[in-house]
């Protein structure tokens, strides 16, 4: 399916496509009541309770007062309905805010200020700096003469660096005024959720340009919810609007989450229901038989000879109502109550307050605490979750001299400061490379401070460090870079940028020193990508030693190098480079090859060491949780190398030879298939060995694997305890969660950025870190915590206790209702199987509410083991994971217990009254107090 977007032509798009109104709402005012009721009644338990409540309205069969069922039922429904309504109202408010934001739009050649919801496909939308993009646009113009603009896409993919977007060549050089009148057609695919791909064509109508079709890529678009940065203005044609934008399409509807325990309780409820039906059938038949054989002889009962048509049903239905308490209505209320208590305990926990920001942990979803105790897989984001997302320049080694070894901070090393102030040439060159061998854009804030917009945090750290060492990169205008060293201003002209790729593992810039006209090649990159190309004769031994030393400390190292190019050498090479960059086939490979030709004979200047600080306690947390039998997957949008390095430093994977990393890569289907097969084979072999095997996969290979080899990949997912997925998109993250969930694993997703939102919503439990990348993840998550290390406490303490408590509470609820119910059943055998209730409504209600539901609430404070014990021996969590405390066999135990207790109570109370007055009320009170004492005894014994 294709869509044709006619630029600035409202009429056609009005009919075909929706407006830009965003709606995340689930209900409208009119359909709220029916829809909500429908949803609530799609749960089996609710249907059951409604049926019982309706049956109770028939006085002929009801053993107790119908109000005892209707009251709680209405209460429960009202509570959950109003909760839903409140949530939906908040969604409505936030939608409204987004929809009523005002934007400039060109319509019929006139620029107008309209509300964002009135944008139609084909409108030309004008944005100013720092505006949020209201819908998906194809760029047609920017303030930049080169046709470049910068956008921040963190809401889309979580990457905080700026991305460059260019206007399509066809629109290049169109005057501002003419942009109002631009006409044309864009042929683009129907809306999809792929934020990395956009294959479209544009054709402008005369007089703008000839009729050539101009291809468009994702580079030519700016997508909804990005921010325009460092660009005065930009304008674009709306192609997807409203909920049809790439973001809107990828925004999954958050489904209500159901815990494994809830599912189990539902299952057990079903089993009890079947048991109940069987009991009712048996007793109903027995009752009818007894009635016909015996009761008609009992003259005092005065049975009519001819009953109404429904006579046969009366006794079974009576028993149905009598047995209806087998499924306690109170279980829902008390579970909701204790669950909200668990959530409150998480909110209150002083050991989970982030001290830096004083933000306490918060449980947004109050219903799923038990699942925390049953987590089997944790899928974690890297940046900002495991790390602090703060890169800091720590050490360096310049021409053999190491700085920063003593105090761990080169910027405070007196020797380095002396070297800088004395102007030693090696150091100055080193600083120059640090400052300008990058793609950083310096900007000025309102107060005049220089802010750097960097694609990677490493570059940012280097430039910052250089600035602190008096080499300040302060301006970039076009190709001219301006650097201030001490007091002198140096200018450089960028001739070429040899971009970083993960294959080359280095980047270089070729620039002209405007002071003396020399042409320089500045390079920086991983040690294995730089050191082999050192100029002949240079000693690289101490650089290798330095990198090893730094890597050992968990620092990220980069080697810096430079070379002076001769003019003719540069010119020859420049031609080749231009040709290579404009090839259509194998461009990346060709460019790399050409780069290779100039990146040799380098003079190594030194090594930098940057610290991407892990958050406090991350390795310990991961180790503890892994001991608890939880598997970790790291899903990151970051580069493979960085991901592996971080994984190593936080105990995620063990270094060789204890651990082994298996790589799945490849660009084509065949390659991916082969490497997948290989990895699978190795996995199958090594599962028996005590070796830490992890697989590494990148986004591209993952996409192919998920599309074509889903089965093999699923098997791999089951086999491997650890995985690193790099360069993955938000929707791939969600897909991975989906795969693990489809294998019936309990998954927990933890992340901090907007790109983690989908995974967080998809996972059984979503945990958001309220971190630097904003609060999006924390808001979408079920739990928000300040630091990764709190996860340990969240799972081992709160999750485990919640699981234990709920397991007890739910089974106990069934136990105490079954206890009463069994007594009623036994009693029916001595009351002519007529469905008499031994207990009256008041005592039944009192038993259910005061004597059992309330006292058992103390179990929210129940602790089987102390927190310290659990944290010291995380293996104890296996019990929870395997669901040892709530499963059919434990339930059978409770069932048997209630049967046994019922027999004991019944026999004692009946026999003590045998051959006596045996007044019904007395017997019932004795039996009731027997039950109350017994269940109180059970609570005391079971809570610890």
């Amino acid at each position: 399916m294709k869509r044709y977007v006619y630029i600035d032509d409202d009429e056609t798009s009005h009919e075909l496509y929706c407006d830009n109104r965003i709606s995340n709402r689930k209900y409208t005012v009119l359909n709220f009541l029916p829809k909500n009721l429908w949803e609530q009644f799609s749960r089996f338990m609710n249907q059951y309770f409604l049926l019982i409540a309706c049956l109770q309205l028939w006085p002929l069969i009801t053993p107790v007062n119908p109000a005892s069922t209707w009251g709680p039922l209405i209460f429960i429904f009202a509570v959950s309905a109003s909760k839903e309504a409140w949530d939906d109202y908040n969604r409505y408010l936030s939608d409204k805010k987004a929809n009523e934001k005002e934007v400039w739009v060109v319509r019929k050649g006139v620029k107008k200020l309209i509300q964002a919801q009135d944008i139609y496909v084909g409108n030309i939308v004008w944005l100013r700096e720092n505006d949020e993009v209201p819908c998906d646009l194809v760029l047609v113009g920017t303030s930049d003469p080169q046709g470049v603009c910068y956008v921040e896409t963190s809401a889309l993919d979580g990457e905080t660096d700026l991305k460059t977007r260019v206007i399509p060549p066809a629109c290049m050089g169109i005057d501002d005024e003419l942009l109002h009148k631009i006409k044309g057609v864009i042929e683009c695919p129907s809306p999809d959720k792929d934020v990395r791909r956009f294959d479209a064509n544009m054709r402008l109508y005369p007089p703008f340009i000839d009729n050539d079709v101009c291809p468009l890529t994702i580079k030519n678009t700016i997508l909804q919810s990005c921010y325009l940065r460092n660009t005065e203005w930009a304008c674009g044609v709306a192609i997807y609007t409203g909920n049809e934008t790439k973001l809107g399409m990828s925004r999954g509807i958050a489904e209500p989450k159901l815990t494994a325990m809830d599912a189990m309780i539902d299952k057990l409820t079903g089993a009890i229901f079947i048991f109940q039906i069987v009991v009712v059938m048996v007793l109903g038949i027995a009752g009818n038989v007894w009635k016909d054989t015996e009761a008609r002889k009992q003259w005092y009962v005065l049975y009519p000879h001819e009953g109404p048509w429904y006579e046969l049903l009366v006794i079974p239905l009576r028993f149905e109502l009598l047995c209806s308490i087998m499924i306690p209505i109170s279980i829902k209320v008390s579970l909701d109550l204790v669950k909200s208590m668990y959530a409150k305990f998480i909110d209150w926990d002083q050991k989970m307050i982030d001290l830096e920001t004083s933000i306490p942990s918060h449980a947004t979803n109050t219903a799923i605490s038990e699942d925390l105790g049953q987590v089997e897989y944790i899928l974690t984001d890297k940046t900002g979750t495991l790390t602090e997302n703060k890169m800091i320049f720590r050490r360096c080694c310049i021409s053999g001299i190491s700085y920063g070894n003593e105090n761990g901070d080169a910027l405070k090393d007196v020797e380095l400061l002396n070297a800088v102030s004395s102007g030693s040439s090696d150091v100055v060159r080193f600083l120059t490379v640090m400052a300008i061998c990058n793609t950083v854009i310096p900007t000025r804030s309102k107060t005049g401070d220089i802010l750097y917009k960097a694609q990677s945090q490493d570059e940012d750290a280097l430039v910052q460090a250089a600035a602190q060492l008096h080499m300040v990169f302060f301006n970039k205008s076009g190709n001219i870079l301006e650097v201030k060293f001490n007091t002198s201003i140096l200018q450089y002209e960028v001739l070429e940028t040899l971009e970083f790729t993960s294959d080359r593992k280095r980047m270089s810039v070729v620039l002209k020193d405007c002071q003396n006209g020399k042409i320089l090649l500045l390079s920086k990159g991983a040690d294995e990508a730089i050191l082999p190309y050192a100029r002949a004769g240079q000693q690289t031994r101490h650089f290798i030693e330095a990198t090893e030393q730094y890597a050992h400390l968990g620092l990220r190292t980069l080697c810096l190098a430079w070379r002076e190019l001769k003019k003719d050498e540069y010119q020859d090479w420049s031609l080749m480079f231009k040709e290579a960059s404009s090839t259509l086939v194998d461009r990346e490979w060709r460019v790399a090859e050409v780069c290779q030709r100039v990146e040799h004979d380098l003079e190594i200047l030194g090594v930098t060491a940057i610290e991407d600080r892990l958050q406090d306690g991350v390795p310990e947390t991961i180790e503890t949780l892994r001991k608890a039998g939880i598997n970790f997957w790291m899903l990151t949008g970051d580069k493979q190398n960085t991901a592996i390095q971080i994984a190593l430093s936080c105990n995620f994977i063990s270094p060789e030879p204890k651990g082994q990393l298996l790589l799945i890569d490849g660009k084509t289907e065949d390659e991916v298939c082969r490497s997948l097969e290989r990895v699978l084979r190795t996995m199958r072999i090594t599962t028996s060995e005590p070796k830490d095997v992890a697989f590494v996969v990148d986004g591209w290979a993952l996409e192919i694997a998920l599309k074509h080899y889903r089965k093999a990949f699923t098997e791999l997912a089951v086999l491997s305890r650890t995985a690193i997925c790099c360069r993955v998109t938000p929707s791939q993250k969600a897909q991975l969660v989906q795969i693990l969930k489809s294998c019936d694993y309990r998954t927990l997703a933890i992340g901090d950025g907007g790109n983690d939102v989908r995974m967080i919503q998809q996972a059984d439990i979503g945990v958001g870190i309220s971190g630097r990348e904003g609060l999006q993840a924390a808001r979408a998550a079920d739990y928000s915590i300040g630091k990764f290390r709190f996860l340990k406490r969240l799972i081992l303490v709160h999750g485990r206790y919640s699981y234990n408590r709920t397991a007890f509470l739910s089974q106990y609820s069934f136990y105490k209702s079954l206890l009463i119910c069994f007594i009623q059943i036994f009693f029916s055998f001595i009351s002519g199987v007529s469905g008499t209730s031994l207990f009256n409504s008041v005592s039944l209600m009192a038993y259910n509410v005061f004597y059992t539901s309330v006292p058992v609430l103390v179990s929210v404070l129940d602790k089987d083991l102390s927190e310290e014990t659990v944290l010291q021996h995380p293996q104890i969590l296996f019990y929870c994971q395997a669901g040892r405390l709530l499963n059919p066999s434990t339930f059978a135990g409770w069932f048997g217990r209630s049967l046994f207790h019922a027999i004991v109570v019944f026999i004692i109370s009946i026999h003590s009254y045998a051959y006596d007055k045996s007044e019904m009320e007395e017997v019932s009170m004795v039996a009731l107090s027997g039950c109350i004492w017994l269940q109180a005894f059970v609570i005391t014994m079971e809570t610890k």
């Binding site: 002889k297 009992q298 002519g832 469905g835 009946i910 051959y915 045996s918």
Partner: protein
């Protein structure tokens, strides 16, 4: 654990600086941090053995005392429903009992086995009589019993809420089927005085049955059930009715008829003159007359004593088994 200790100590310093938090001590703080004091008994073998032993030592004496009390009760039980039917009607007892023209008088001779001290309670016992049948239990109107005709809604009394388009007081199956055998006792020549007052619960008389409520339109239907009531006596004084209306939970039950307030000596012969009116023949129920003294624990019932003895012995046995196991393989 090194880390854990470190983090908790930093947090304890931080907790003071964060405003709006409960104080570090006090119940509320302990509650929010889930650190309320708790007692955790450890089940060591010794403690378990001691507990069972103690249980046994408590239960056995209690059982013995209970049994003794039960054995001190003297009870005379006499089944009269068959013997009181004349020979010629034995084949069709129902016809006999339903025929009002036949005299229902009957005499029974009871021999007192042991001396019985006053008060001696007189019960009638019915077997196979389902006073707990749902249809029967529900067929009464407590409101009407208290307020009489002033209370109009007698629908709970179905199927006997009215007759001849007039409401019945007291309505319902229970009242309608009121037991109507009567007993008179003689020891030798003299008549034994039977006190028929104060046989019902005082609370029932005072609060559940109206003092101003008189029987009305009772047993006037085509189908007569049990006893008739004197319309001039208020319900609160109709103690037989009050006793009867306390339905029994078991199909075999006793109801208090009256008290003999004289001691009976061993080998005394009591003559009972009874009117065998009540129909238990149609459903094969038995009727018995019971004379019983009482102990501090009530009537004769060995069950509680035996149960206590059983539990006590069982606990001691278990404790011995555990002790042996513990001696053989101590931990």
């Amino acid at each position: 654990m090194e880390l854990d200790g470190g983090s908790s100590s930093t947090i304890s310093t931080g907790a003071r600086t964060i405003p709006g938090r409960p104080a570090r001590h006090g119940a509320l703080y302990q509650f929010t941090q889930q650190s309320l004091p708790a007692c955790k008994p450890v089940l060591t073998p010794k403690a378990v053995i001691a507990t069972f032993l103690l249980m046994g030592l408590v239960f056995i004496p209690v059982g013995l005392v209970t049994l003794r009390a039960s054995y001190s009760v003297v009870e005379i039980v006499d089944r009269y429903d068959i013997d009181c039917v004349p020979e010629e009607y034995r084949s069709n007892k129902v016809a006999y009992v339903k025929d009002d023209s036949i005299s229902k008088n009957c005499s029974r001779f009871l021999k007192v086995p042991k001396s019985m001290r006053a008060p001696i309670y007189i019960y009638y016992q019915l077997d196979n009589y389902y006073q707990n049948h749902r249809r029967y239990v529900k067929s009464r109107s407590d409101q009407q019993l208290l307020h009489g005709l002033g209370y109009n809604d007698t629908s709970p009394c179905r199927p006997l809420e009215s007759s001849n388009d007039l409401p019945i007081v007291p309505c319902g199956l229970i009242a309608w089927s009121l037991f109507n055998d009567t007993f008179k006792f003689r020891r030798g020549p003299s008549e034994l005085k039977v006190n028929r007052k104060d046989i019902a619960w005082k609370s029932d008389r005072n609060h559940k049955f109206g003092k101003q409520v008189y029987p009305f339109n009772f047993q006037n239907g085509t189908f007569t059930g049990g006893a008739k009531l004197d319309p001039s006596i208020p319900l609160s004084d109709q103690e037989d009715l009050i006793v009867w209306m306390r339905t029994a939970a078991l199909p075999t039950f006793r109801k208090l008829y009256g008290k003999i307030e004289e001691d009976l000596d061993a080998d005394d012969v009591i003559v009972v003159n009874l009117k065998n009116n009540y129909n238990t023949y149609s459903f094969g129920g038995k009727k018995k007359l019971v004379l019983s003294t009482s102990s501090w624990l009530g009537g004769k019932n060995d069950f509680l004593g035996i149960a206590n003895l059983f539990v006590g012995t069982f606990s001691i046995l278990i404790s011995i088994v555990f002790l042996v196991l513990h001696m053989k393989s101590p931990r």
